[in-house]
């Protein structure tokens, strides 16, 4: 760490709200959020100073066991407890650095003492802004099966497309064991590209929501024949906007 020009930089101190991030779902995504929020704040402020950031990294598999068992109440309590602990540490507002837990977002919000920024709401706003009409969502089996994006998109008059059950299984199988741990294998990436592009063609999608915060490590803008919507980046941008 560095000791130079401290007093100059100090005068430029960022007076921003403190974000509380629920992380660990999984850790590789948490790192993307952490570095992304810092980059976003520095670009926005034009200052080299760092924003204050609070992180509560939970045990993903404890949360997943609740979601898998459909113990929605336990998942909500686990996540809102993390949020409220962040509030105790001084967070002004919070965000959950993952898509799947947003299945219980309303209940977490109800139990939380500070406001939350939803990745789903921000992504739907982004779709509206871009005027996409036929939007394919890929993500974890839970995200695809439970209408995490379909319900709000349809409510906005947008056509929401999903892979078939078999395609969902194929997509999800490419998450393990590497992508989940933040590692992108070239062969897996090529399989994912071919598979998603074939669904895009078949269903005439005009855009694809990467409905899982690990997917943007594998699929970048330009990797598919239609634009990809990077939910991690959309969420980070909303967090940075809200820090002012």
């Amino acid at each position: 760490m560095g000791i130079t020009r401290g007093s100059v930089w100090h005068n430029m101190r960022l007076n921003m709200k403190k974000i509380g991030l629920v992380g660990g779902i999984g850790p590789a995504s948490t790192v993307d959020y952490y570095m992304g929020i810092i980059d976003g704040c520095r670009k926005k402020s034009g200052s080299p100073n760092y924003p204050e950031i609070l992180i509560y990294s939970i045990d993903m598999f404890e949360m997943l066991s609740h979601i898998e068992g459909k113990h929605w109440d336990k998942a909500s309590v686990l996540l809102s407890t993390a949020v409220n602990n962040l509030a105790s540490a001084g967070a002004d507002f919070a965000a959950i650095a993952s898509n799947t837990p947003h299945l219980v977002f309303d209940e977490i919000s109800r139990l939380s003492t500070i406001p939350l920024i939803s990745i789903v709401e921000e992504t739907c706003n982004f779709v509206l802004e871009k005027q996409y009409q036929r939007v394919l969502t890929i993500g974890t089996l839970f995200t695809m099966r439970n209408g995490l994006y379909s319900n709000p998109l349809v409510a906005q008059g947008i056509i929401s497309l999903l892979p078939s059950e078999t395609e969902q299984q194929e997509i999800y199988s490419l998450f393990f064991p590497n992508l989940e741990n933040g590692i992108v294998i070239q062969d897996d990436k090529i399989k994912m590209q071919k598979l998603v592009d074939s669904i895009v063609r078949k269903q005439k999608a005009d855009s694809v929501i990467l409905g899982c915060t690990e997917l943007p490590m594998m699929l970048k803008q330009g990797d598919l024949n239609v634009p990809v919507i990077d939910t991690t980046q959309v969420h980070i941008n909303a967090i940075v906007r809200n820090m002012n």
Copy 2:
């Protein structure tokens, strides 16, 4: 994030103490600590589950302005406030993910409501264990000038070596602007290797303390003619040990 075998993993949940990490000094080191603690816990437990981790990422330049101005009391209050906020969020003990702030470690400890693990103490223990006798310390100008490692090493009867004032400036100039931001430039690395190896030779050092948590990104074991002591890894190992 993944949804598989959750219930099996849930049964293996890690019952560990919660570490509170003061990060952001700088962010690249915080990421190394975060991923390192997770790796360490998973290896130790043999379980794929994730430990709970709390992070308070502060503004490095605010802290540096206090250190640079020798406002030790302000630096102590800033850091101990972060620690106490982590305690409010549920941290059982804490660590500061950086060497330089350990200049005010005793005062931070005094002001903190939870125990702290010192990177300096753990590194000195490591030196004793390895039976090194002539130990060169490199790091930020503040670390080298203020006897952060020299004082405790000498107290243990170990010969503590430091670069000359000119060499200290040369070493520190290689931190900016890249290493500080987590980027290693090959040319800078070669300059650092040559410079440190020449000091090692001249002063007959038998080991080198990388007394800055960004240095292990640039200098790995085998890059110098004597063993390097990676203070980040020594600190991470101590944190993981204390989580049980």
